[in-house]
Amino acid sequence: MTREDINEQDLWRFFQEGDEEAYTLIYSKFVKTMFRYGMSLVPVSEAFVLDCIHDVFTEIWIKREKLTVPDSIKHYLLKSLKIRILHLLKRKERLSTPLTEVDYEDLWQEPSAEDIFAEKEWAESREIVVKRLIDKLPHRQQEALRLRYIENMDFEQVAEIMEVNRQSAQNLVFRAIEKLRHQLGFLQLLLFYYFF
């Protein structure tokens, strides 16, 4: 059995015992995901996100013996990264509005029918249509979509990362998809289906 094949929990235990190889394996398995998730939270500074990842990994190394074994290492690391990023940015008073737990629902302008039509006309492909629509969603809804449909976190895990209950996490995703479905239209979706 090679290291790549062992299950996550065993890999974690090796790391907790101070096995540097296991630690490095965990790093290389998840650093890319952490990076993209971090960049989606703080798109302006790659250096800052890298520093936060550095902090997460050095901290778990120092505390390794005291850590519990997570159900999902990826979930654990994404959550730690978000906590680290928010922790550092929270000290910045109100500068970090895009990252506070403010719900953007109120700030968000519903695009008009003409806007949507114009978007559809303009877009070169349906991928771009959906992208544009998603870009207009409130930040928290976008984050929930990324965690659920790209990172494949279950709703319990999404809820934990976003510091809401499971129902609220589902609601965020529900509102986003309901809106997209409405804006794209069922016909569009069927075309989309054949397009892919």
Binding site: T58, L95, K131
Partner: protein, 371 residues
Amino acid sequence: MKPDYSSFKPLDFVLDDAFIRYALVRDSSSEAFWSDWLSENPDKRADFEEALVLIEAVRAGLTDYSRIHLSEEKEQQLLKRIRATNAEAAEKIKPLHPGIRWWKIAAVFMLISSMAVWFLKENFSSDSTGSYQAQIKSLNSPVIEHSNTSGNIQHFRLPDSTMVMLHPGSRLSYVVNFGEHDRKVILSGKAGFDVIRNPDLPFLVLTNAITTKVLGTVFEVDAFDEGQVVRVKVKSGKVSVFKNKDVSEEITETMPAKGVLLTSNQEVVYTRTSDKFDKKLVSSPEMILRESPATFQYEESPVAEVFAEIENAYGVNIIYDAETLKDCQLTSSLADEGLTEKLDIICKSIGLQYEIIETSIVITGKGCNKQ
């Protein structure tokens, strides 16, 4: 317990963890489950497929996110850094926790100015070629660096509110506790400074050959590492410039004797090869006070009066023989001209010559006949 899928609508499927897992990563057991379920519920096929299409659409719309890429190189660099920090922690060499104080500052910069801020912590230990890196290393402290890789001048403020205008290709670093004991910045390249006055905390610009010390002024330092000369220009206020080798430990306490003192509209050029300072007027001196009371309107005015007004307005020294020029008068309007243009016009209309020698303007001529 499995939910009752037979009552599911498309939006129920897209919110079901088991269904999403099937949509994202199909394994044999979920494949089997759903194909069985579909054969039992053929009327639900349309809803089931719409849900799959919805998820596919959302994923397609998120490709910008899923394509965010961390390069192999950066991944390896970061791992190296993490290991270095762990090693230090293990040996307890470093008492302070890595990354507590400077993140704070970093975030401010990132958010306020969205300017690239690098942490040179890593660069310290590795190669420190060039005197810029060497000087940073000698500070023995984490630094914050602004590096201007753009084609335009970048404006930003230091923690003490001093304004910096960093020119393209230039780098400026300062320690994280800037302003605690002194205000020291390290520069490679060219930058202008509008220093907030604080007599208790002298402001120092360290460059590869010289150090510029200032108490509050507007000035510019031009010191690219590879350049042969270092230039310091003063717009207003007073600064002293001295060679790094003459800088003692008590740099903040006393003004080194070997320094060159510069005042408004003066510049000094230090040439590395000759190790000499060359002090002179800047090429296009500006008036010290924008709201200068001088009008430069002359109606048969004695030149002594004209020169006095120019001396005051530009903070320059004009040397002439008052006796020879006592009968010279000027009638002219010079409000819109720069200093050298003013001098040109004055000298031509009276038949004089001028020369700029070091920081002084020397006027020579035969004098005028009594009118």
